[in-house]
């Protein structure tokens, strides 16, 4: 599973509280869904999240994202206006839509890749949220990258047997394609959920007693800073 090793192998330079990461995520989706009208503020927000990702040692990933962002920015400002009609609209759409989603995806990555499940649970328990929400929530966030891994290996296995999933198969044989996609994905999900619950039961998650936790979950200077900036951006987008 590698649920714990994932976070621990990437110890950040400055430790960040999961709660401030969540505030950042909410801020990113909130501001961008409302629509940041000013390009400048969009860039500032992007740079801010990039720095935080660097802090979490997600270096390759961040560089990829920065390059993508720069290209889209360039297309939006310089290239798209050169074409008129459908092509221009298409270019503009692609460059804008994906650019707006980038910070959301990145802040989600920050949560998913640099937080361990136990950090998550400890942080939530401090907020006195009921266990019935905390456990599904933290499992869900940690499970997104696993789905992606599973999906890649399922695709490989299917190619090996000569089954290809493409837009053509989705249009021509939707039912069959759906069955081919859903059944292995769900099978692996069921298996992982069994394994994970066995693992967490053995770590004492099922007990009635209050859990203790070695990791200290406290707000540091960086966290206050992140929360302040996030709230600032939310307020800014509300005003516009």
């Amino acid at each position: 599973m590698g649920d714990a090793s994932f976070g621990f192998s990437n110890r950040p330079f400055i430790w960040m509280d999961p709660r401030s990461k969540i505030v950042l995520f909410i801020a990113s989706s909130f501001t961008l869904m409302r629509g940041i009208s000013k390009v400048v503020s969009e860039i500032i927000f992007f740079v801010f999240i990039s720095l935080l990702l660097f802090n979490g040692k997600q270096i390759n990933y961040t560089i990829k994202m920065i390059v993508t962002f720069a290209i889209m920015m360039y297309v939006d400002i310089n290239v798209a206006s050169m074409f008129s009609g459908t092509l221009g609209v298409l270019l503009l759409t692609v460059s804008r839509v994906f650019r707006i989603f980038l910070p959301i995806v990145m802040s989600l990555t920050l949560i998913v890749r640099t937080t361990t499940v136990s950090e998550f649970i400890a942080a939530f328990e401090k907020m006195h949220i009921t266990k019935k929400i905390v456990i599904p929530f933290s499992v869900m966030f940690r499970f997104f990258p696993t789905i992606k891994e599973q999906w890649v290996s399922i695709q490989n296995a299917m190619k090996f047997r000569g089954i290809h999933i493409s837009i053509r198969t989705v249009v021509c044989q939707p039912m069959l394609t759906m069955e081919y996609v859903m059944v292995p994905l769900l099978m692996s999900a069921v298996k992982i959920s069994d394994e994970l619950s066995a693992a967490s039961l053995s770590r004492g998650l099922g007990g009635d007693k209050k859990r203790s936790c070695i990791t200290k979950v406290v707000f540091g200077y960086l966290d206050y800073f992140v929360v302040l900036i996030s709230i600032g951006f939310m307020a800014y987008s509300m005003m516009n």
């Binding site: 869904m33 609209v89 759409t93 804008r96 707006i100 599904p136 499992v139 869900m140 959920s193």
Partner: protein, 192 residues
Amino acid sequence: MDNKLKTKDLISAGIFGAMYIIVMVATVTVVGFIPITYIFAPFFAGITCGTVYMLYIMKVPKRGAILILSILVGLVILSGTWISGVYAVICGIIAEILFGMGNYKSMKFATASFCAFACTTVGPFLAILIAKDSFLASVVQYYGQEYADKLDALTPSWIILVLIALGIIGGFIGATIGKKILKKHFEKAGVV
């Protein structure tokens, strides 16, 4: 059978929540590229998510399980407007009651409950009812003016009822397919 949620069930809820959201988002993204099919997004999402939902409620047939799933889904949809998050939880409660009426066993009530649950995807469209202008403004941000104009022409206020109806039909089809797939693959393998 013990009807209380245990840690094991909560973990299943998290995993199936993740699966449900991924399948839903993938469907909406694929379908959403053309304005006309974007309107049908709840319908298609209902069809594809049916299997995930049916497997989930067969695996965790307990009180509160569906509610947790709706909260997880609601948190994701919430990023549009807060109303759609609340709406998702309301759908979840209705689905929960429907499945509860079948004593958490009956397949017929399971289908009915997914019909209600599939309506969660209508959530983002609720903005059409409440604040059409700001909704279209956000669409302009994402897809450009031309797309928004097309969407504007397609969406008078009553469309929301059509969307909910489509969601219910999609949910029914999805649940039916889900049941078939469960029978064909998962019951044999002894998963449920």
